[in-house]
Symmetry: C2
DNA sequence: CCTTAATTGATAATTATTCTCATTTTTTCA
DNA sequence: TGAAAAAATGAGAATAATTATCAATTAAGG
């Protein structure tokens, strides 16, 4: 990944914002500095920077929503390889709500934990430890 | 919410599937039972059922991705009211990865926790406890 | 400098989802 | 029962977010 003025601008704009902007919001800000910048360039750079670990993309599951008839509290794991979604028991993070409410003063109405990685099967297939 | 054959079918199809299907996948299955069923009906019913708490929709943030220049481990809270995104310190769920890896045998490469509810400001505005 | 590789801007395409609206189905209750 | 009101449907248009395409521009390195 080599230097470009646009990538520089994307990164700086992101850093100058305290909140966690969407691409749309960033685009508006960016156009003030550089009215010619293309939306595609913004998305490209955000993805590249996230890929490189310079920034982070916050999005639970990638594209489409998944539905679950199991409504008792539990979490999910999505396999990077086969894209299957698995249940994770809720007791991996027990008092997470009360802890967070106390710490923040926010009223928590719900939460979701999504893990990703390699499921058992794909792990074996790839021979990865 | 009153009875309809299509809603019945949507719910049954979801329950008969062990995995956590996407709408697209459900649609394919549903069309075998009812070739006339509309995609809009499927989405409508999934949302209604989720709204009513009969099923659960798994999707971290609703629509668009948010980006964060802060790459050290932390979580996020999105306010249902003003849609702002806040940081939550990672220590609300400390050994969540090791615990999950031990419990599942999966290789965890990352995870995201997204809370939602009312932020401090909106909580006061709405006078909600 | 010159060549090669990376990046850009403009825009088309795609994907997932929601909206619209005329028609059909369900519910209610006289 | 069965007529009126309310809810739900199907078909397809619309939207929103994101990705792909591709010719033109810019960066990097010998």
């Amino acid at each position: 990944m080599n230097y470009s003025r646009q990538r520089e601008q994307v990164l700086r704009t992101l850093k100058e914002n305290v909140v966690h902007p969407t691409a749309e919001y960033l685009y508006e800000i960016l156009r003030n500095k550089n009215p010619k910048i293309s939306l595609a360039t913004l998305y490209r750079n955000l993805n590249q920077l996230a890929e490189a670990g310079v920034i982070k993309k916050i999005d639970g599951l990638e594209s489409s929503a998944h539905f679950d008839h199991n409504t008792h509290e539990h979490y999910h794991f999505i396999c990077d390889e086969c894209k299957k979604v698995f249940d994770i028991s809720a007791n991996v993070a027990p008092d997470i709500i009360s802890k967070t409410e106390t710490e923040t003063g926010f009223k928590i109405k719900g939460h979701d934990i999504v893990f990703h990685g390699l499921c058992h099967e794909c792990r074996e297939k790839k021979g990865e430890q």
